[in-house]
């Protein structure tokens, strides 16, 4: 019996310490693009399941422009078998902030791929919406579990025994009937680095690009009542005393403070 696992993979921007905002986003000069941290763990979890099981196919799906292919190849280099990238001129102009829009686009891929299990990251490091996975599950009629930090997958029964990481150091143990969408939390595994051999192999793995037409969708899918209208640097609420000087001077200030407070002796 074969199993297919679909993993959503997003390319996200990381921001330099110093940056400028240009319009509705941070100026591109201060951004570095990389695989979303949570998705890295989701890819690793899928690859581990494929290594442990018989006949498991791992397919990644990305909503992203051509630039994101470098990131997608990285997921392939880590062991995914093939990739799907969804892009269209109509998406380039849309903000893609609305989880409903993303769920609609991903749902079209789920319906054509018919996976047994979908793994997503808990959230994306850029907009931190944290809603796409569960919205997708609702849209395609799958079961789901959010914020999973341990997964024991029974491929024959298609049941996932998971731990959900609740607040305050409490974990919830839950059995989820498949087909299901699980949103994967960081720390669930140790994501591997791509090997040189993996990187070479990734160049030859299939990476299919689908436009809206190919998925049976039209431009109305990007219509959304949710619009980003401004971005700004928050005013610092801080009133910290900043010790200035060379490292030995600032260390001396801190040491003096700790001694005066009596919290440290010596």
């Amino acid at each position: 019996m074969s199993t297919k696992i679909l993993v959503t993979v997003k390319e996200v921007a990381e921001v330099d310490d110093e940056f400028e905002i240009s319009g509705l986003d941070i100026d591109d000069r201060y951004l570095e693009y990389d695989l979303n941290e949570w998705d890295d763990y989701a890819v690793e979890e899928a690859v581990q399941l494929s290594e442990a099981g018989d006949d498991v196919e791992v397919v990644t799906v990305t909503l992203g422009p051509e630039r994101s292919e470098e990131t997608i190849r990285m997921a392939l280099a880590k062991g995914a078998d093939r990739a799907v990238r969804v892009w269209d001129d109509a998406l380039a102009d849309a903000g893609l902030l609305d989880a409903t829009t993303k769920a609609d686009l991903l749902a079209a891929v789920v319906e054509s791929e018919e996976p047994d299990l979908v793994l997503t990251g808990v959230q994306a490091a850029d907009d931190s919406f944290g809603a796409t996975g569960v919205a997708l599950a609702e849209r395609v009629g799958f079961e789901w579990a959010a914020v999973v930090n341990d997964l024991d997958y029974d491929a024959d029964a298609n049941v996932s025994s998971v731990r959900r990481e609740l607040e305050g150091g409490v974990e919830e143990l839950t059995d989820v009937e498949g087909p299901a969408v699980l949103t994967i939390q960081t720390g669930i595994n140790e994501p591997r680095y791509a090997s040189l051999r993996g990187i070479r192999q990734a160049q030859r793995k299939p990476l299919d690009v689908h436009a809206l037409d190919d998925l049976g969708l039209d431009e109305s899918v990007v219509d959304s009542p949710v619009d980003l209208t401004s971005m700004y640097e928050p005013e610092s609420e801080g009133d910290a005393v900043v010790w200035e000087g060379s490292p030995d001077e600032t260390a001396d200030e801190l040491a003096t403070f700790l001694r005066e407070q009596g919290v440290v002796e010596g």
Binding site: A131, T132, A145, T229, V242
Partner: protein
């Protein structure tokens, strides 16, 4: 007009976000000239409803179904309640469990959803304030719709107080058991061990800025020199460099030491939730704009690899080479 806010409980206790969502919901209801209704689902619904009947609550709807949170039950119950009461705004907590049903409810009701609101302005078009890029920027998001769903970040609104005169009524909903595909089989406390960081007077806490596991002894040496206890932010535990019982934050421990020294910690909201009650917070970080600087009392804006060895020397310790 109605604002419907969903409350949250676990293992017999209402969780704090349930009282904060009353405050947020009342703000929104005032802006919309609406009533504030609460939903209480599962567990001791009558006891919970009494405790939630605080100033500003107009009605509480209870659904006595199950003991603990189950997202299929919550999704069905909230959806049915929204269909019956037709709220203009549906508020849910931006918690682990809130994010386990809010997108499904919004999808089922075809409501636009904005998550993790830290503020909103509902005079006219709804304008939601949220953070992006790990708190480095704030954004405003407009929602052009007659009705919408919103999740509310914990600890942004104060808990509601006082006693209200809400009408408490059971809400009848037939849960379709065949659509319940997940079963909670238990809970487990994690992160106990030989060290209890919540008992420490002084914590030296290490974050992502340490870069590599082999650099960890530097911060351990600082903790030793100060007679302090070592703790960390989430990435250090995710990487397996320190055990779970050292983790400060939303999913780890909440600590309130006399002095908290954050070394190479940027101060993500989940981390700050676990340490903002410290008496004195000292940050050592290269980034003067890092969120940790907003709550620090004292700060050194410099490279930890330059400052920490000097500090160890100050206290007669030896920095590892």
């Amino acid at each position: 007009m109605t604002v419907l806010a969903v409350t949250e409980h676990r293992r017999g206790e209402l969780r704090t976000p349930s009282f904060e969502i009353i405050t947020a919901g009342r703000d929104l209801a005032d802006a919309l000239d609406a009533e504030l209704h609460l939903a209480v689902i599962g567990g001791d619904v009558d006891g919970f409803a009494d405790r939630l009947n605080r100033d500003g609550v107009d009605a509480v709807h209870t659904v006595a179904e199950g003991e603990e949170f189950n997202h299929d039950v919550y999704t069905q119950a909230v959806t049915a309640m929204a269909e019956a009461h037709d709220p203009d705004a549906l508020l849910m907590p931006n918690t682990v469990n809130g994010l386990d049903y809010a997108p499904a409810v919004a999808g089922a009701l075809d409501l636009p959803l904005v998550t993790d609101a830290v503020d909103f302005d509902a005079d006219g078009t709804l304008e939601v304030t949220r953070e992006q890029y790990g708190g480095k920027v704030e954004t405003t998001v407009d929602v052009e719709a007659d009705a919408f769903a919103l999740t509310i970040r914990p600890a942004e609104w104060p808990a509601a107080e006082g006693t209200g005169d809400a009408e408490i009524t059971p809400f009848d909903v037939d849960i379709d058991e065949s659509a319940v595909g997940s079963t909670v089989t238990g809970f487990e406390e994690v992160g106990s061990g030989d060290v209890d960081i919540t008992e420490a007077d002084v914590l030296v806490s290490v974050g992502r800025g340490i870069d590599e596991e082999e650099n960890l002894p530097l911060v351990e040496a600082l903790a030793d020199a100060l007679g302090a206890t070592l703790s960390s932010s989430r990435p250090i535990v995710d990487n397996g460099w320190l055990p779970k019982n050292r983790q400060v934050g939303q999913s780890g421990k909440v600590v309130t030491p006399d002095v908290y020294i954050a070394v190479g910690i940027s101060g993500a909201v989940q981390h700050v939730a676990g340490m903002k009650g410290s008496d004195t917070i000292i940050a050592i970080n290269t980034d003067p704009n890092a969120p940790i600087m907003d709550i620090a009392d004292y700060a050194i804006v410099d490279d930890l690899f330059d400052v920490v060895p000097e500090l160890i020397e100050q206290f007669g310790g030896q920095a590892p080479s």
